[in-house]
Assembly symmetry: C2
Homo-oligomer: 301 residues x 2
């Protein structure tokens, strides 16, 4: 069933179902409404949609973003039941979480569950196969070449090379330097200045800190590394080497494209291996566009 | 003012005040009642007393353990106001926390605030100067030679060589091995078996885990290292090298005694430097005895 406005305006262009791409992350959920050719009809944004952190909130955000996308296209709320939804969701890389999300008694016609990194990869490379590494607060790699993923394990045990990892390693190094058990460099002064604390005051400032709190320290680690600070350089090089290893695994022997996404993706290239950096290309599209593509692929397939 | 029983039994032996030593940690608070010569009169145990984690609960536990110690000596509750208390408290190494604890409107005659590691060191070496390293869930070093401390920074940024650190490093290594980005060894099987999980299921099992949860993985890391597992060995050696460095700093050029305390103190010696291990001696007493000594020292000083 099509709504009145859709019928008037787009009946001939869109005889098939309406597709909704969901890009669900830890801070917000973005929905993109499109026809079967990917043509844009509307969009909506709602709250967090990380299904690992909070399944109920994620479901609420998905529905709200869908309702807002329908509203932006002047379509009635009731059309939600006609939507074929492809959702790329943070946290859906955990098998148990993906199963729970798939078991949702959702209000849509169809609801296909994928990961945030899968839709980012579909968006980045369009119709072509390729790989992406997202380095922001966390780090994760994924390839549509063989549908394999690396990292994305989260804080504090994973996400090497990410902003949270850079910040955590810096705090560790500065605390050991304060004890005289590791070299003390300008990184110590930079961290103390940003935290307005020193010595055991750093412990007080960082206790219970989230991955985002640690990620907020990443820019100063990168700045120190750029100025040649040996401790910051060692941290950044170790993180970048891990991402280079990940890129190598992702590309394998293929000639596929590689995109480096996320807030640190561009900056970290300076320390990644040249043969990897040589293969980096810009992303063709945004994750919500990839989510629409994912919805169409699942529906057709 | 002395109670009836104390007056009858001990008036001549104990003309001075009553001393109470408090050993306050993250799981329990132990109080030890003694006279000015350190002679034991009673003891009491109450709940957690980590002033960094929960100042209010710590204060409640300190008072309860004091009341129980008085009761065990058949002394009335009202005698609490006559006690000269020396408290060695986990979390009091953080300057802000120590100040807050000292500002407590406590019910005692005197209340002296020290750290858990300071009283452990006083207990371990009796009247002599010396150093201690405590390696349990966390790790910290302290010396009465120069009243200096190392480590004790907490999870996840400090406490290298501790049980929590060993567990966290093992989880990191196993997750990277699962991605094919680090060597896979028997440590992977051991960790998967203990967590009843593998691959991304490990993330699911460990998300939000506490330092104690990580510490619970330390025995399997040590067992794997003992069997020659290269990944476990590298982790254990790195942790033990840090503790050796710490011991070297603590002892400096002095001929002081060194005690290795905590659940892992003994086991980690196998990987510490021989010249350090050669200086290790057994502890003479328990921390609550050190707390009594601390109370007497502060009162006399």
């Amino acid at each position: 069933m099509q709504s009145r406005m859709m019928t008037e305006e787009t009946e001939k262009k869109m005889p098939g179902p309406m597709f909704l791409g969901i890009d669900g992350g830890g801070s917000k959920c973005k929905a993109r409404l499109a026809d079967g050719t990917g043509k844009f009809f509307g969009e909506g944004v709602a709250g967090p949609a990380n299904v690992f952190q909070d399944q109920r909130q994620a479901r609420r955000s998905i529905v709200e973003s869908a309702q807002r996308a329908l509203a932006s296209a002047h379509l009635p709320d009731t059309d939600i039941k006609n939507l074929v939804v492809g959702a790329g969701l943070a946290g859906a890389n955990i098998p148990r979480v993906a199963r729970e999300t798939e078991e949702w008694d959702h209000p849509f016609a169809k609801f296909y569950v994928g990961t945030d990194i899968h839709i980012a990869c579909l968006a980045a490379h369009g119709a072509a196969d390729g790989a992406v590494i997202v380095a922001g607060t966390g780090s994760v790699g994924y390839s549509t070449i063989n549908e394999i993923s690396y990292g994305g394990h989260g804080f504090p045990f994973g996400d090497k090379g990410s902003g949270a990892w850079l910040g955590l390693e810096a705090v560790k190094a500065v605390l050991q330097a304060d004890d005289g058990l590791a070299p003390e460099t300008a990184l110590s002064r930079a961290l103390e200045s940003q935290l307005a604390a020193s010595g055991l005051g750093i412990v007080d400032a960082m206790v219970g800190a989230s991955s985002r709190d640690y990620g907020a320290l990443a820019p100063l680690v990168l700045e120190c590394a750029q100025r040649g600070d040996p401790v910051a350089l060692e941290i950044v090089r170790e993180g970048a080497a891990y991402l280079s290893d990940m890129a190598e695994k992702l590309l394998g022997t293929s000639e596929g494209r590689l995109c480096l996404l996320g807030g640190l993706g561009e900056r970290l290239q300076a320390w990644m291996r040249p043969e990897i950096v040589a293969r980096v290309v810009p992303a063709l599209g945004q994750p919500d566009e990839g989510a629409v593509r994912f919805a169409i692929q699942c529906y057709d397939g």
